[in-house]
Amino acid sequence: MATFDLNVNGKNHQVEVDPATPILWVLRDHLNLVGTKYGCGIAQCGACTIHLNGVAVRSCSLPVSAVGSQAITTIEGLSEAGDHPVQQAWLEHDVPQCGYCQAGQIMNAAAFLKNNPNPTDEAIEAAMNGNICRCGTYTRIKAAIKTAAQSMS
């Protein structure tokens, strides 16, 4: 056990956990931020995607000890009012089916669009390939990302 000071969604939190604990479980079990989902635990599905200093990472495979003072953003903190352009685009295209994968998809897409304001279809596919949607909402996700890109530009 060790003590860690974390910066999550702009707030400071102190947790006492095993240093090897993945940030995913710190968020879910210790901070009660359950928007970040568990899907595979081995960086294969993207359901647990968060931002670390603005970069999309798989929280299931990131030990808390590796985070340090870097800023963590989760789906709960992506926007204050739930109106990030990506979230809005998701609603406009009514993307979710079961919805379980969508927090990860949204977080991945939001980080991607920051550096790729005007992506091609191929670039979107490549960037999103690590995020599985078992319900098969891929075509809608792609359309929503394009809408978000437009509204962000």
């Binding site: 056990m1 956990v17 095993d18 090897a20 604990t21 993945p22 479980w25 879910r28 079990d29 210790h30 009660n32 931020l33 359950v34 928007g35 970040t36 989902k37 568990y38 899907g39 595979c40 635990g41 081995i42 294969q44 599905c45 359901a47 989760t74 789906i75 709960e76 992506l78 739930g82 979230q87 998701w90 609603l91 009514d94 993307v95 979710p96 089916q97 079961c98 919805g99 379980y100 969508q102 927090a103 949204i106 979107i124 596919e125 490549a126 999103m128 390939n129 690590g130 995020n131 599985i132 949607c133 078992r134 319900c135 098969g136 909402t137 891929y138 075509t139 809608r140 996700i141 792609k142």
Partner: protein, 734 residues
């Protein structure tokens, strides 16, 4: 306008009460399939009278519709309330949809439906909305002293045109609650629908995109511990011994126990499917701690006694299926004289198709919260069969049914997996043993290796063509472990004079369950690939060939028990042919067509494949659907897109194989699911416009996609694909 009765044998389907704070509440049976002519049904199922849904109209005019049908991703939480709101003739913007809890005084029964939800509830939901509207009109007529017939409604407002009076529903709601429930109510004409057939957004959309706690895995309660299970690593094994010394000493671990989830004398019902009756559970403070301790368990396993302990492997299973397929099978349907017709055929084509076991792999793994005390059992989580599992828990814990409370959460996918609630029983037993509230969580590995899989299948088709290329004999003989996939009365039964359908099964210790579009998910792809090959041998266009057969089935059907409506079947094929411009594919496009009927709906597809950077990609899928009235069109398109991608993905990439009883894939690095870059670039969905009552949509778009994919792959590569996943035949997409 149609009239429907609101009671049967003097028992009402509805009940009205005044709300404490003003306004009205109407309780009704959400799942009843009330018929306008009850003479048809002498014996009405008891559950049709159980009031498990309600609508509430507050004095502010806000209508709350409480839906007992939990959401697994088919958008029923939006589309079903739309049906109520339509007949109520209210303003959708003032409708709030809530998930009904189970087992309160009002809600006594819940079933989380699959594709059939809308079909079963259509009449009941309309009647509920219509009844409330009728009572509001009566209240207004009395208040204004005018004849009922002169009171009209529009989007949540009551009008008396002759006098120019009007009132919002909220103003009349308290008075309406005093009006006796009418014996019959008028329903709208389909052509007057204003909400049904318009696209409405998912009522939970905002919560989903902002990460609100909605799912079972998100549930938590004060003092709750985390539990995980260790199950036998292979089918055919059982627990021999446990040494938990090291695990128990680890930080945060409260207990390690042996869980006899289903003791030997427990009588399993269908929803209890589990190959692993006895498990080890680790209980601790946090998920990560429990995961670590699980690794420290020293477990020994031994074979189950007798044949149940024989370890299965995919190779041996395939040999067993091939051998069994050569033996006589159970005849399910015979028309004419198939063997004589094959003997005189100018050409006989015979092909066999196979598919592996599939895991459901819902993105949210199995989980359930349980708090069991000597007095009661409180259970919360994602389950589609609460009423069945209530019985299981009662039997297993020895608690009376009314002491068991199951609450449902939104589900992170279902696909059939959450019909089987062993995890709920396991959670209850663990909580009882450790005397604490616990949340049982399956890791992805636990989830993928626990069983309840889509069975593995094998089918052989034979077709006889005469000199002119007419289909004169057809034989389907299918089997699987442990279930056979043949539907003897589906197309092309009814379209061929000499027809034979046979089935066989083999036993195994690997547990199976329903998987999205059970049996159809395999047989459709096989049949539609085979018909493609037969059409080619007959020198005919694949769509024209099918239409020719359907015309025969329509004009002069063979046999009397044909499950499908040939005209509707042909309708979707014609629609997809026209929308895709079937006859003029673009340069470089390889096209495959397919059509299938299941869950009362008809779906036809054309799949376009193109080469891109040396690989094949699915460029576009055209899809035509006849599922009757489409309640929420954009949500329906979403379901169809998902079904198509699911069908393509599983046929192309997915499969679970076994070695010595052990699944060879336990997570997504080994079990491949379709990803963004492999999905179709575009999907275009068209619906047949008719006024037939709505039927299933969650399942029907999936099965034909497999055939369309196989047929397009043939056009692109010159090679036929018989064995799923096609990647095992060295084929990739994108």
């Amino acid at each position: 306008m149609t009239l429907v009765k609101t009671s049967y044998n003097r028992r009402s389907f509805l009940k009205s009460v005044t709300l404490a704070g003003g306004g009205m509440m109407l309780s009704f049976s959400w799942l009843a399939s009330c018929v306008s002519n009850p003479k048809k049904a002498l014996e009405m199922p008891k559950e049709w009278f159980e009031l498990n849904g309600y609508l509430k109209i507050g004095e502010n005019g806000v209508t709350t519709i409480m839906s007992p049908n939990p959401e697994i991703g088919q958008n029923v939480k939006t589309s079903m309330p739309m049906i109520v709101a339509e007949e109520l003739d209210t303003n959708w913007d003032l409708v709030v949809v809530e998930q009904a809890p189970l087992n309160t005084d009002i809600f006594t029964r819940q079933l989380a439906g699959g594709s059939q939800s809308i079909r079963q509830s259509w009449e009941a939901l309309r009647m509920a909305g219509g009844t409330a509207r009728h009572m509001l009109r009566e209240a207004a007529a009395q208040a204004w002293g005018v004849p009922l017939a002169e009171v009209t409604t529009a989007t949540g407002v009551l009008y008396h045109e002759p006098s120019g009076r009007s009132a919002g529903y909220g103003e009349m709601a308290s008075a309406a609650a005093q009006i006796p429930v009418p014996e019959e109510v008028e329903l709208k004409d389909v052509k007057d629908f204003k909400i049904i057939r318009t696209s409405r957004k998912n009522v939970d959309g905002q919560k989903i995109v902002t990460g609100q706690p909605l799912y079972g895995l998100d549930y938590r309660k004060e003092g709750m511990l985390i539990a995980m299970i260790a199950a036998p690593p292979a089918f055919g094994l059982q627990l021999k011994s446990v040494d938990a010394t090291a695990a128990k000493a680890m930080p945060g671990i409260r207990d390690v126990i042996v869980v006899d989830a289903y003791p030997e004398d427990y009588e399993m019902q269908w929803s209890d499917v589990s190959a692993f009756r006895k498990l080890v559970a680790v209980v601790g403070d946090t998920t990560w701690q429990v995961m670590q301790a699980k690794k420290a368990l020293q477990l020994e396993w031994e074979p189950l006694p007798g044949g149940a302990g024989t370890p299965e492997s995919t190779e041996i299973q395939m040999e067993r299926m091939i051998a069994r397929a050569a033996q006589p099978a159970r005849e399910m349907r015979r028309d004419g004289d198939p063997e004589a017709a094959f003997a005189r055929a100018a050409q006989v084509i015979e092909r066999s198709y196979t598919a592996p076991y599939l895991a459901h792999n819902t993105m949210e793994p199995m989980n359930f919260f349980a708090h069991v005390t000597p007095e009661k059992a409180e259970l919360v989580g994602p389950i589609q069969t609460p009423e069945f599992m209530e019985k299981s828990v009662s039997q297993r814990l020895g608690l009376p049914l009314d002491k068991i409370d199951i609450q449902m959460t939104r589900m992170g996918g279902g696909f059939g997996r959450r019909l089987y609630g062993h995890f709920l029983v396991e959670a209850a037993v663990i909580s009882q043993q450790v005397q604490a509230p616990i949340k049982l969580i399956y890791s992805r590995e636990d989830d993928m290796t626990f069983g309840c899989y889509r069975p593995t299948y094998y089918v052989t088709y034979r077709a006889g063509l005469d000199e002119a290329g007419n289909l004169i004999a057809f034989h389907v003989k299918g089997g699987g472990i442990p279930e056979q996939p043949v539907f003897p009365n589906r197309f092309p039964a009814g379209a061929v004079d000499n027809y034979l359908a046979e089935g066989w099964t083999l036993e195994s210790n690997i547990s199976v369950g329903a998987w999205r579009a059970p049996r159809s998910n395999f047989i459709a792809g096989a049949e539609q690939s085979f018909l493609d090959e037969v059409a080619e041998a007959a020198g005919k266009d694949p769509i024209a060939f099918r239409l020719e057969l359907l015309q025969r089935a329509q004009e002069n059907p063979v046999g009397e028990r044909n499950d499908y409506d040939a005209a509707r079947y042909a309708g979707v094929l014609e629609l997809v042919r026209d929308k895709s411009g079937w006859d003029q594919p673009a340069e470089g496009v390889s096209r495959g067509a397919s059509a299938y009927f299941c869950h009362n709906s008809y779906v036809a597809q054309v799949l376009d494949m193109v080469p891109r950077d040396g690989k094949l990609v699915v460029d576009k899928v055209y899809c035509a659907i006849d599922c009757g009235i489409v309640v929420n069109p954009d949500a329906a398109v979403n379901m169809a897109e998902g079904g198509i991608i699911d069908g393509i993905g599983h046929a192309m990439y997915s499969g679970l194989t076994f070695k010595n009883g052990q699944p060879e894939q336990n997570n997504f690095h080994q079990y491949r699911l379709i990803r963004h870059s492999e999905a179709p670039k575009k999907i275009e969905v068209h619906f047949v416009q008719n006024d037939i009552h709505p039927t299933g949509l969650g399942e029907p778009p999936l099965p034909p996609a497999v055939g369309a994919l196989a047929n397009a792959l043939y056009k692109a590569t010159g090679k036929r694909f018989y064995h799923q996943p096609f990647i095992s035949e060295k084929q990739e997409l994108g």
